[in-house]
Assembly symmetry: C2
Homo-oligomer: 331 residues x 2
């Protein structure tokens, strides 16, 4: 029942373990005859080398930690899949952890991963655990922050330009002569949410428009907060004619809210971050900021492999920034 070891194979093939190892790794010299014979025995007994022992000996885990805030969110999983592709190609594998946006779980996850001796860490963080992350980087583990980043931390990042995208979104609405633009933001502990708010605010400032506090709703990236935003906006003397929403879940909530209040969906113009595929199925005015998780994952994967296989020359931290595109879905 218990697994065969290299010794069993060596005995069976009548050679030393060293020879088996050489065959396994295509390293050193080994005559064709012996090689064939050894391969035969390996196949016959379906021997599989113990990756744990190999890792210990080589002092290389060949594993990469990836820490995400929500494994059920396809956005993050598309990033993860792209990275996994690249890693498998190069003989690495991923250790996933889902923090569910919980800083405590994140801390535990990071401890767990360092004990597992990951060679690199890919992180879309909760916003907490700065010091621990810095320490991991200092200890020689390559760290790449994806989607979300920390200010003043000298680490590799691959992110989208949220400020620019949010700014464009507001400018788009201003060009269409909207005077009352409602906004719904995400948790300000998350860098993307903060930057989207910054970008939107910046666009209004540049247009010389003073921010009306009643038109700014602080949501939490959840569907419920989208509904809540609509309830709030409907209580205002002057309802917004357009809404800028900083993620797709909240936008879905907005539609649900409008429906709940009996307001026609096409009576309000919406610009939203994220994918809203279903939107083509009904009449309304929607523009989305299309993100590109696959490109983000590919970029992070390339950077990762470069860091892992790169020589000793310590490069400066890389900051790759992708540009989301504004896509108008309705005329």
């Amino acid at each position: 029942m218990s697994k065969l070891t290299i010794k069993d194979i060596a005995r069976e093939a009548g050679v030393s373990t060293a020879t088996i190892s050489r065959v396994l790794n295509n390293s050193g010299y080994v005559s064709q005859d012996v090689k064939q014979q050894v391969l035969e025995v390996i196949r016959k007994f379906n021997y599989q080398p113990n990756a744990i022992a190999r890792s210990l000996k080589q002092e290389k885990s060949r594993s990469i930690g990836i820490v995400l805030p929500d494994m059920t969110n396809p956005y993050f999983m598309k990033i993860a899949r792209a990275i996994q592709h690249r890693c498998f190609q190069e003989g690495y594998h991923l250790l996933f952890v889902d923090t569910e946006e919980n800083p405590d779980k994140e801390r535990e996850a990071l401890d767990f991963l360092t004990e597992k001796r990951i060679e690199a860490l890919i992180l879309a963080g909760t916003g907490a655990n700065r010091d621990q992350i810095q320490a991991i980087s200092d200890s020689g583990i390559h760290v790449i922050l994806i989607d979300r980043r920390f200010s003043n931390l000298k680490l590799d990042t691959v992110t989208e330009d949220n400020i620019y995208a949010a700014k464009s979104a507001i400018e788009f609405l201003l060009e269409k002569n909207h005077q009352q633009i409602g906004m719904i933001h995400g948790p300000q502990s998350i860098s993307t949410a903060k930057e989207r708010k910054q970008g939107a605010t910046l666009a209004l400032q540049e247009a010389g428009i003073t921010l009306t506090p009643e038109l700014v709703f602080e949501g939490d990236y959840s569907r419920e907060s989208g509904i809540a935003a609509i309830r709030h906006f409907c209580e205002l003397p002057e309802r917004p004619t357009a809404i800028f929403s900083t993620n797709n879940e909240m936008t879905f909530g907005i539609y649900l809210g409008l429906q709940e209040m009996g307001i026609p969906l096409d009576s309000i113009e919406i610009v939203s971050f994220g994918n809203l595929e279903f939107s083509s199925l009904f009449e309304h005015q929607l523009t989305v900021i299309m993100q590109n998780p696959q490109e983000l994952g590919d970029t992070a994967g390339d950077l990762l492999i470069r860091r892992l296989s790169g020589g000793e020359e310590v490069e400066a931290p890389q900051n790759r920034i992708l540009m989301p595109r504004l896509i108008q879905l309705s005329p």
Copy 2:
């Protein structure tokens, strides 16, 4: 830069490595004084034991392999999350692999995982690699098939009752007096797709209705095949008045197809497997077979932990079957 070992800590604390190990594992005797002192040193140097070495010594990886056909599909990831919860609680962790429905990738994944000495395998398979999976089970690794199963394989399974659900779906449409029911099925290599087709066929038979081949469209669980189905149905002399779709992606395709053909979405009644959250946003007649990935994950997690911590008594394979519910979303 390189990590500290138990020896370093032993030297630093002026005790033997055995003592350090005892402190780390709360095993054996160790005086309070020494224990405190050791903990102090561990904290001071931020020592983290090497999980790889520990695994090798204990001949326990404490890792569970989980193989899924699509990591970007929230259905599977909700299952995975539930399992991960349970595993972390018990000190195990998950090794994820996404096969992208590719049997070759699946085979590679299984090899990879067995080399990593997983203690259990959770699998939503492509339908191939039967022998390899059986061999894994025979070698003493607990195997639990989720969502999809193999006929005639004596393994634990946690699945949904697809036959029953599909049968109910058709019965529901028959009760509403639909005479022309179109069906779109998934790839018959996947057990769920096959069972859904079986269930639907069974319901028609029991109602004494002969199957019209033109009304049965063989799709592949993709959005495109949903569109293709509509194009096909529209070419028939007599269009179906209702459609039974065996997954949500194809149903989305159906809506897109209807829109493309200029057919009002509410002119055709649909029953579909899977979640279609957006559906409440427009007028149409939709009934869904609501699946419960979290319950499936919880069930699999419980079974898994029982297998892992269960004594030597070999229990017969368990087959847990969950009942999906038919939910009418429109009057």
